[in-house]
């Protein structure tokens, strides 16, 4: 429901609107905030300028779907009408790696459906795949016949057919939608999307940035152009919203803004999501917003398969890595069970092998870090349509990352509502780790004494 105050704030009527929203913002901010539950060091500051970020007429801050978009709707006699089209899409995981995937409305993941608790929604689903499909609304209260499990709740949507789902939203929270017909294949090749429902009474804590993404895994074998749905565990690409690092959008915020990140997991594995620089609260998920006393303070939160998590924190200036903590999920394709060359002296043999195979290079003797140097310089050809396992460069050198990795960039001077990448972080003087010696025998570090 749209309140007069929210309406005015949306219209943006000069200082009157600014004053109004400041009041409403402060009022809302105070309702959900128990001072003695705050983590150490965090001070509630209301020094932020009034937010003139464009909010929806119904008052919510629209989510930012990383690398994605939100599905527009049409109002029809008080019902929000959405139209999803299930179809094959040409998708780029990162420059240099494209594939034929399945998605909705031209993208994988599909567009985010965003509505407000209490809305009545009508969703048209047209099937342009060559096999039947359905859509399941994960976590929603709705009539059994709208739940979308093909054969159980409804007849399947055959190719070329359009079905309609209609129900009233009886909850708020972070949800998703995905097929429930030939589910394993259709999800394996990319069919999923976010379904965000905002609380009808507005946010208890004013959110300044609201990000959302889905975790997924793909078996795109090196040199191929279509994911393989028959792979259950040995995946090659790990994605946020179907993108891998370095193509994942950075999350940006202004220092002091309250940021929420909504994470959904439709992959085959749980993911310990780790955010550097802050301690965040786990504030909700499919079940909507948790009461304050149920919030957990974490730096890493495991998102299980089929689960959603909302995390919130107040932004601290800097460049903060945000990634799944499973180290092999932050790499692009690398072979499983590859010969272990760590610590192996190949002197002499490398030369011999190179006389047989001129392109051969001994790798991995002292670790794999040097690999990115070679691929950066472009002088090691890999299979076509395949990304090197380590990518990315920032102001101090190679990041050696891939897959489920991105950066949260918080700047003092980033304008609210400005989502552009602010570039390298200018570290304040004296706050960068610096070199004191290149002599390995420098100093007298104590070593463990074995008796």
């Amino acid at each position: 429901m749209t309140t007069r105050r929210d309406f005015l704030s949306w219209v943006g009527l000069g200082s009157v609107a600014g004053l109004t929203s400041a009041i409403s913002g402060r009022a809302l901010a105070q309702t959900g905030h128990d001072g003695h539950d705050m983590p150490d060091g965090e001070v509630e500051k209301n020094v932020l300028p009034p937010s003139n970020v464009k909010r929806h007429p119904q008052g919510y801050l629209p989510v930012r779907t990383l690398n994605g978009w939100t599905l527009p709707y049409a109002m029809n006699n008080g019902v929000k009408e959405f139209h999803l089209v299930a179809e094959e899409v040409e998708h780029e995981f990162a420059p240099g790696c494209v594939a034929k995937c399945w998605g909705y409305n031209g993208s994988t993941p599909g567009p985010t459906i965003e509505a407000v608790e209490g809305d009545r929604v009508r969703i048209y689903v047209t099937n342009r795949l060559k096999e039947h499909t359905t859509v399941h609304w994960h976590g929603l209260y709705l009539p059994s016949g709208m739940d979308g499990v093909g054969g159980l709740n409804q007849p399947h949507i055959q190719p070329d057919e359009t079905f309609v789902y209609e129900f009233t939203l009886k909850q708020h929270g972070t949800h998703m939608y995905h097929p429930h017909a030939d589910e394993m294949v259709q999800m394996a090749v990319g069919m999923m999307g976010l379904f965000i429902i905002h609380p009808k009474n507005g946010e208890p804590n004013r959110i300044d940035r609201d990000y959302a993404f889905l975790l997924h895994n793909w078996a795109l074998h090196p040199g191929t152009y279509r994911p393989d749905p028959s792979i259950m565990t040995d995946f090659d690409l790990w994605t946020f919203n179907s993108k891998v690092f370095p193509a994942i959008e950075s999350l940006v915020a202004r220092t002091g803004e309250r940021v929420r990140i909504r994470i959904g997991n439709l992959s085959m594995h749980e993911h310990p999501m780790h955010l550097h620089g802050v301690q965040f609260w786990v504030t909700g998920g499919d079940g909507g917003r948790l009461p304050r006393h149920l919030w957990r303070t974490e730096v890493t939160e495991v998102v299980g398969v089929g689960q959603m998590r909302d995390i919130e924190f107040v932004a601290i200036a800097g460049d903060w890595a945000f990634h799944c903590h499973k180290a092999h999920h932050t790499m692009n394709a690398m072979g499983h069970g590859v010969t272990n060359t760590l610590g192996v002296n190949q002197a002499g043999i490398e030369k011999t092998i190179r006389s047989i195979l001129p392109g051969y290079m001994a790798m991995g003797k002292d670790g794999m870090a040097e690999h990115q140097n070679h691929t950066n310089m472009g002088h090691m050809q890999g299979p076509e349509n395949t990304l090197p396992m380590m990518m990315g460069k920032d102001q101090f050198g190679n990041l050696e990352m891939g897959g489920m990795f991105t950066v949260l960039k918080v700047r003092d001077d980033l304008a609210p509502g400005d989502y552009r990448d602010p570039g390298f972080y200018k570290n304040p003087k004296g706050t960068v780790a610096y070199k004191v010696s290149t002599d390995p025998n420098f100093g007298q570090p104590p070593r463990r004494q074995t008796a």
Partner: protein, 497 residues
């Protein structure tokens, strides 16, 4: 004694003595050379021992090509000397056949028991008239037989030539195989050494190391077998070139000739075989000789031994008598039917043999042509299909090694499989040329297309040579530099015979 009395004797003697040349020194060798020349071989074998020695030295001091090996065999293989000796037999027959039979002299002294009688002394000189009559025919037969023997000798020389060529190709092929087996071993050895390094670093276990080293061991066994094959085939060629074990210092030219664009057509080959095969010509000659002999036998079957001569005697009473003599075999009990039947049977047998030979040759030529086509097809398939695929596999595996998607062992294995494909190819090329030798042997003449491609060769070393590495790389042995091109390191060849 007055001269006129001895005139008949001296005249007869003179007539007999005319045309009495000795057997030529080079009985028909020149003719054999001509026969071979007509069939495209230039047999310029020097006759004196010194020239032979010079030629021998010259041929042994440079890499032996196919034609060198053949030349060496022609001047050096004692089998050829044995063949030429057969010519001597036939030449002797010609000589004998052309000679008139020797007359026979008879003398008698009869002692009379009558008082006052002197001893009867008589002399007679007789000569076979039959011999004289049949001399032209006999000469004809002997010369015809001489020709036939020359043809047979020529056929044997071509046979030897085919054996030498086959031995040369086998050896050339075997040497290529050794080169490839060395390359396979090098690759397997690298994998085995790498496995040892991994084991030393504690990264693989005994089992994994043993598995890699077993493959290396097998590669070495394959090489040992290939080297043994080379030694054996060297021995074969050495023997065929008439050299002793101590004279085995020659080296064979490397490589096999490239495949020809197209082959001769079967009808042409059959025609060529019909006109070229010397043993076929000899068999035909045999039939015509025996037909001629049958005709002569038939015509003269009533002719027995007829002797004519002169006789003189001094009677017991001192008078002298002189006069011609004749003795005539009467064909009463035997009109030579046996002789005729024998001649007829011999002719029939020879005709059957000729037909049999013609059929055999016809089928053999076709079979050889079929074998040739099959070998060519195999070689072509290796060259156009399997080898490019194996090369692609190696390149794509290298891409995966670059991105750490697979390990180096898989890459080395792929390279070995590439070498195996080259090996199959070279074997097929060798089989192709062996098939051509066989075809030429069956046709009885060298196939002129064989030298069409000139000196273009397929060489294992060229196949093994990897493409230039175009990347700027650093190695474990040298830190990264700004060199643009990594030099291709030396490929070590084994001793090249």
């Amino acid at each position: 004694m007055t001269l006129p009395r001895y005139l008949p004797i001296t005249m007869l003697g003179g007539a007999l003595l005319t045309g009495c040349a000795s057997v030529p020194d080079d009985p028909g060798r020149a003719n054999v050379s001509t026969l071979l020349q007509e069939r495209g071989h230039t047999v310029a074998a020097p006759d004196d021992a010194e020239a032979v020695q010079t030629l021998l030295t010259e041929l042994l001091d440079k890499p032996l090509r196919l034609e060198d090996a053949v030349r060496l065999a022609w001047i050096n293989n004692p089998r050829l000397k044995a063949e030429y000796a057969r010519l001597g037999f036939a030449a002797a027959e010609v000589f004998d056949a052309g000679r008139l039979g020797n007359p026979s002299l008879s003398a008698r002294m009869l002692v009379s028991d009558a008082v006052g009688s002197a001893n009867e002394i008589g002399f007679g000189l007789a000569h076979s008239f039959t011999n004289l009559l049949l001399r032209p025919a006999r000469s004809r037969f002997a010369e015809g037989e001489f020709e036939r023997v020359q043809q047979l000798v020529g056929a044997q020389i071509l046979q030897l030539t085919a054996e030498v060529e086959a031995a040369h190709y086998r050896l050339a092929g075997a040497w290529q195989i050794v080169s490839l087996r060395e390359a396979v071993l090098k690759s397997a050895q690298a994998a085995g050494d790498l496995a040892q390094r991994l084991f030393d670093a504690g990264n693989i276990n005994h089992l994994e190391r043993a598995l890699e080293q077993a493959a290396t061991s097998q590669a070495r066994l394959d090489l040992l077998q290939a080297e043994r094959d080379v030694k054996k085939l060297r021995g074969d060629l050495n023997r065929l070139m008439g050299l002793r074990a101590t004279e085995d210092r020659w080296k064979i030219a490397a490589g096999l000739p490239t495949l020809l664009a197209d082959e001769e057509a079967l009808p042409d080959l059959l025609r060529l075989a019909d006109t070229s095969r010397l043993d076929l010509a000899a068999a035909r000659k045999q039939v015509s000789l025996l037909a001629d002999a049958l005709g002569v036998t038939r015509r003269y079957r009533y002719l027995g031994a007829i002797d004519v001569g002169v006789e003189t005697s001094r009677e017991g009473d001192g008078s002298r008598s002189v006069g011609p003599t004749v003795s005539l075999e009467l064909p009463i009990f035997n009109q030579g039917q046996g002789r005729v039947a024998r001649a007829k049977a011999e002719l029939e047998q020879a005709e059957a043999d000729l037909q049999s030979l013609e059929i055999e040759i016809s089928n053999a030529v076709r079979l050889a042509a079929t074998e040739l086509a099959a070998a060519k097809s195999r070689a072509g398939h290796y060259r156009d299909s399997l080898i490019p695929l194996r090369e692609t596999i190696v390149a794509r595996k290298q891409e995966r090694v670059n991105y750490m998607l697979v390990g180096p062992f898989e890459l080395l294995l792929a390279k070995q499989q590439e070498y195996e494909a080259y090996l199959g190819y070279l074997e097929a090329v060798r089989d192709y040329w062996l098939a051509r030798v066989e075809l030429a042997r069956e046709v009885g003449a060298p196939l002129t297309r064989s030298t069409q491609n000139g000196s273009a060769t397929i060489d294992a070393e060229a196949l093994i040579q990897p493409p230039d590495g175009t990347e700027h790389l650093h190695t474990e042995d040298a830190p990264m530099t700004n060199r643009d091109q990594m030099p291709v390191s030396d490929i070590h060849h084994g001793d090249h015979p």
